[in-house]
Structure formats: C-alpha cells, structure tokens
C-alpha cells in the first residue's frame, strides 16, 4: 500500500508536519468563511440563526485550530459541524464541502503531537495523510477530464458556447478566442427552451474546449512522475487559474490550489494560507467593498 501512496511524493519529517499544519489551517479557514458566505443563499438563508451559529462555531475552530495545541479538538469539531451542515442542507451542498470533509477526516486521523517521542509517529502519519490528499487532487483532476469526455459537451465546444451565451463572465474570458460575429450570436441566444444552436463555430474555442479535458487527464499523470512533477504542477496551477477565471468557484479552487502546492518539495502552505484567507475575505466582502467604493466616489 505504502508503495503506490508514495507515487505522489514523500516529505521529510519537518516538511510533512509543516505541510499538514498548513493544509489543516487552510481547510478550517475555508470552512469558516464559506459558512458565512453560504448564509446569502437558500437554504442557508432561510435558517440564518442555525447556520449562522454553525459558521460562528467553525470560525472558533479555525482560530483555535491555528495552534497545534488545540488542533485535534478543532479539526474534529469542525468535521462534526460541517457534517451537520451538509446533512441539514442536503442536497443543496457545494462539492467543496465534501472535499473539505474528506480532507478533514484524513487530517483528523493523523496525530498532532509534534514534540518528544511522538514526533516521529506524527511525521509518519502526516506523510501518509499528505500522500492521500495529493492522490485525491490527482484523482479529482483526472476524473474531471474523464467526465467532460464522457458527457461529450466539450468535444464540440457546446458547454463553453452555452456558458458564453448565459454567463457574461465566460463571454468576457473567451471573447479573444471567438470572432465578433459568433460572440454576438451566442450572447444573443436566450436561456429558454428552443434556443440554439450552441455548437461552437469558432475553431479556437473548440481547440480550447478539447485542450481543457485533455490537460485535466495528462497533467495529473505528470504529477505522479518525479521527473515531470514540477512542470505538471506549474501546468496544473495555470489550468486552475484559467478555469477559475470563468468558473469562479473560489472555495473549491482555494482548496485545490492548496492541494496542488503540496506537490512542491518545499512547504508552500506557509505563504499560501494567508493569501488564500485574504482572497476569501476580499471575495466575501467584494459587493460591500464595491458599494462602499462606489458610494465614496458619488458626490
């Protein structure tokens, strides 16, 4: 078992412990801020007291879980709170919630004693937990590509055409790949029965569409091979950035980028976690910030 687990890389004791600490903080921060963000949407908005209390408790877990001393209790507490949230709101859950639950479960199974005799055992468990998390990143990316291939909406660019037609964010991102006339045709299509055709007529859009699922299958394979890992990591991060430019699934992306950074030989989480936290906060407060800035500019 240990053999194939290590295909995703193996860390020294200190690096393993640092990385697991980083991913623990990342997941706890993500869940705490996502809990607040969710209050804007149904069904969370229909019971703001209940879900607000859970978000508050997740925030406490994130604060306490920053310290190794309180890590075990915070991780288990957050895991239970998130399970309660998912069950109560089912089936209206984000996939990042399931991802966070899986990662928290793996983190919870590792010991947090980083001093004295338990340090060696803790590092061993941290190493295995990190390898499992990295495998989930590899599997997730590869499955995403396989699913796009399986359902067929990326082969002729139908999915991207549909999103360009119905989502101004996608239209803006893909405008450089689509001739003006085709872009105007797609944007004019309405999201109603009988609308179409959504088959892409711009060759570059079809190429981009097919490169996406191909990259999602090839890049994770590159992450499993030490000689191509750095290149595949860079490619995967660029792919994630490209996808998020249109998709804007910030909590999912926040976790996945963190998972990808675990493939780097050094501990990048020390830098990434504060950046991710600040990014979440800006996104969470974006509408308020925009209103405030807009209000300030108005005489």
């Amino acid at each position: 078992m240990g053999g194939w687990l290590a295909w995703t890389g193996s860390d020294d004791d200190d690096v393993a412990l640092d990385k697991l600490r980083g991913v623990r903080r990342l997941v706890l921060i993500t869940l705490a801020l996502e809990g607040w963000a969710a209050l804007r949407y149904v069904p969370y908005s229909s019971s703001p007291g209940f879900y607000g209390a859970i978000a508050l408790a997740l925030g406490v877990c994130a604060l306490l879980g920053w310290r190794d001393r309180f890590a075990a209790g915070s991780v288990r507490g957050a895991l239970i709170l998130e399970l309660v949230m998912v069950v109560c709101a089912f089936p209206e859950n984000g996939n990042h919630q399931y991802l966070a639950i899986v990662w928290l479960s793996l983190i919870a199974l590792a010991r947090f004693g980083v001093e004295g005799a338990s340090r060696r055992a803790s590092a061993d468990e941290a190493r295995v937990a990190l390898q499992a998390i990295r495998w989930i990143v590899v599997g997730g990316l590869a499955w995403s590509g396989v699913m796009k291939l399986r359902y067929g909406y990326w082969l002729g660019g139908e999915f991207l055409s549909f999103r360009i037609a119905t989502d101004p964010g996608f239209a803006w991102i893909f405008a450089p790949l689509v001739p003006d006339a085709e872009l105007a045709r797609l944007v004019a299509l309405e999201n109603r029965i009988g609308a179409g055709p959504f088959r892409a007529q711009a060759p570059l859009l079809v190429v981009a569409s097919n490169l996406t699922w191909l990259a999602e299958i090839v890049l994770p394979a590159g992450l499993l091979w030490a000689r191509t890992r750095r290149l595949a990591l860079l490619g995967s991060l660029l792919l994630m950035a490209a996808i998020q430019a249109g998709a804007r699934e910030f909590f999912f992306a926040g976790l996945m980028v963190g998972g990808l950074l675990l493939f780097d030989a050094r501990d990048r989480m020390r830098i990434y976690v504060p950046i991710a936290g600040a990014g979440y906060l800006v996104w969470l407060l974006w509408s308020d910030l925009a209103a405030w800035l807009g209000g300030g500019a108005t005489p």
């Binding site: 089936p91 209206e92 067929g152 959504f198 996808i243």
Partner: protein, 134 residues
Amino acid sequence: MVGILVAVLVWPLVHLGLVAQARVDPWELFGWAMYSKPAARVQVAVEVERAGRLVPLRAMGEMRRRVAEYARARTALGLFARPDDLLRAIFESDPSIEAVELVLRDVSLDLDSSFLVARDERLRFERPTPPAGS
C-alpha cells in the same frame, strides 16, 4: 486513511451510474463532474383534480416554497427526490382535492441538435385512502 482514499477515488464510478440510472445532476454529489455539462434544471408545475376536473394549482406562500424545494431536490437528486412532503401539504390544504399531478419539465441542452429542449413527465398521485375505522 487508505480506505477513505480508495472510496473517494472509486466514487465517481458509482456517480456515473447514479447519473445514468437515477438522473442525478452530474454537478451534485461530489462526482467531479461539475462543468462537464450544463447544469440540470427541472421545473415543477402542480395540477389538482376536483370532481374529476384537472386544474392548475396556484401555489402561494408556504406551498410555493414547497414546490420550489421539490423542484430543487428533483433537479439535484433525480429519481431519489421524493414528493411526499409536497403531496401531503397539497392534500391537507383542501379536502376536495381527489388527485394531484406533478408536471416535471426537464430542460437540457440536447447534444445532437445543440438546442435547449424540454422533456415533460407527468406523475399522478391519488388521495391516500384513510385507514379503515378512522
């Protein structure tokens, strides 16, 4: 840890089956199939039968919320979504309702034509018979 990992890696195979057999939305339930196709959309209209005549139900307030809730559940979970709560609320709202028909309109992007199409399905439910002696 290995057990959790294997379960997560194998789950998308099960997910493919759930989508194919039970019409679960590929975007839902952690199957790594978000963005693989346009998100599913099921619209629900309710018709009720009184004295043998079928008429649309004008759902307001709480009833409207329940219809929307069932539509969201049906969109996400497909055949796994049960309308029991909605039906109970409808039958309890008016004793003269003899039967309920749910008209489910599944709006999707047809891959062959690349047009948005609708597929309608009608589900009929008779008023439950009270237990004998009640």
